[in-house]
Amino acid sequence: MYGNDFGAPEEASGGGLLGEVEAAEAALREAAARQRRRVPASDDDLAGFFAEIVEADQKIEPRDWMPEAYRKTLIRQIAQHAHSEIIGMQPEGNWISRAPSLKRKAILLAKVQDEAGHGLYLYAAAETLGISRDELVDLLLNGRQKYSSIFNYPTLTWADVGAIGWLVDGAAIVNQVPLCRCSYGPYARAMIRICKEESFHQRQGYEILHTLAHGTPAQKAMAQDALDRWWYPSLAMFGPPDGESTHSTQSMAWKIKRFSNDELRQRFVDMCVQQAEILGLTIPDPDLRWNDERQAYDFTQPDYDELMRVIKGDGPCNRQRMAHRRQAHADGAWVREAAAAYAAKRAVEKKEKVAA
């Protein structure tokens, strides 16, 4: 519905990626329709059965045998994604109370609500791998599992809400579209749904910046300042360069991951350049230029030392984000206990009724 509020060109706002999501969805249906061997021939055949499914681009389902490391990798990755959705509500939630029009307030509130929904959906996908949501939440709260570093940067102005939508959601989509073809069925299906909504969010963010960039001089300056601060952290969202990425090779073999960090980062840069031009904003990289030979843009890499510092906990908002999450969890404890106690009383009553 909000998609009709503005007329940004399809290509300029990630429309091509949405096409890829739809193609992945079609492939998922086809794969489901193709007959696959339902069960391994024998217990000695487990690894062969698994490899065959992955090789044939079929989906591994929760009850299938899978290597322990595959299960662990998926739990780590899906949980980190779920935590990112939940923590990611904070920087944008920061502007709900001050949104500059009632329409923007409604759009932003709905967006942050969508993120909570994504978090729940992803926790449910992780639960199919044999871990509970409560355990995962504990792993987040005690710092043993991470969330995306980008959410450790502050939203200082309204334009940051636009920049998060355009760049952060944009980078997330570039990262996540290939996950729609991930070998693990529940994750692939979750990603299809999430990518569709993220694409919508990205358009909204882009449109916020478009309005600001075509507004008063102060609004345009606000938009440029947001781009200046969010550009490199967004590039860092794709992770360390390929040579230094610890989880990549095995994940590629398992078809959890399908493109390298650097490939996805390049795709993102190439997508943003034209969009920035339409916005009339300047990407803060003096070395950004088209390379005819590579048919791609050359660009300055983000500061990976900074990325490592933020991952380790020393970003501008790590402490604040975690303290907020822990506080909300602690403040809600008595409510959750009450709900459990109430449900237990009702269950006893029901039993007594049945017995009588």
């Binding site: 904070q90 949104a99 409604a106 709905a110 809600g332 709900a339």
Partner: protein, 241 residues
């Protein structure tokens, strides 16, 4: 004499300020599901506020749209009831507020759906369905907390006592209005009494009855709420967003 503008403005302001308070829960709710539910209710209230304020602006005929009314009035010009501007406090207080608000809005919007003004009737027939859900949600939590643990019972009883006095203002008679709030009191009482009884809570005695919201005389809380809500809009006069 309060014209339809004043009446519509009151309803719109109730919904707007309720939405602003409910949205404060985002990222802070006791459960993730509840975060989503509270955002949903806030969005419903905000949606109602936008329809009502837009219509109020048209009734006034002075060229004010929903944003002019929301962002460019001071607290003395707001006409919301005091109940909605009270701070959220703990989850029990928020649910007590929502119970009273929705038990008032449901019969209000239901009556509005039958009123002679077509625009208000259309708004009422949309919002009454939402109010029914809000009431359901609040009632369920009041019961869970009232009949949950010792601590939740204590907090829920305290919350009901804290917000109960603010219910009186909702039903101040306004015989000329499209819906006279005084006519809604009986249904409100029946609804709330039943919920409190099932929640093992004691209905407070009526006594102190703070009021003034309908005349723009608010609690100290409202101008802080507005300062935050309006700051960005007011910092860029005439800008489009």
């Amino acid at each position: 004499m309060n014209g339809p503008f004043e009446f519509t403005l009151r309803l719109g302001d109730d919904a707007l300020i309720a939405a602003q308070r409910l949205a404060e829960w985002t990222t802070r709710a006791p459960e993730m599901e509840e975060d989503i539910a509270l955002a949903n209710i806030a969005l419903d209230q905000l949606g109602a506020a936008r329809l009502l304020l837009t219509y109020a602006g048209e009734l006034e005929g002075a060229g004010r749209d929903e944003d002019a009314l929301a962002y460019l009035r001071d607290d003395r010009e707001f006409r919301n009831c005091l109940l909605v501007e009270l701070p959220n406090d703990d989850f029990a207080v928020t649910m007590a507020k929502l119970l009273l608000l929705s038990a008032y809005q449901l019969p209000l919007y239901t009556a509005l759906a039958e009123c002679a003004d077509e625009r208000l009737a259309a708004i009422g027939s949309k919002t009454r369905k939402e109010s029914a859900y809000h009431l359901d949600h609040a009632a369920l939590w009041v019961k869970r907390l009232g009949d949950g643990t010792e601590e939740s019972h204590r907090r829920m009883q305290a919350a009901v006592e804290q917000v109960w006095p603010y219910a009186a203002e909702l039903f101040a008679p306004d015989p000329g209005a499209p819906v006279d709030p005084a006519a809604l009191r009986a249904e409100f009482d029946a609804t709330v009494t039943a919920v409190l009884a099932e929640a093992t809570l004691t209905r407070p005695e009526s006594g102190w009855a703070p009021a003034g919201g309908r005349d723009g005389v608010h609690t100290e809380h409202l101008s802080y709420l507005l300062a935050e809500m309006q700051v960005l809009h007011r910092a860029h006069p005439g800008a489009k967003w």
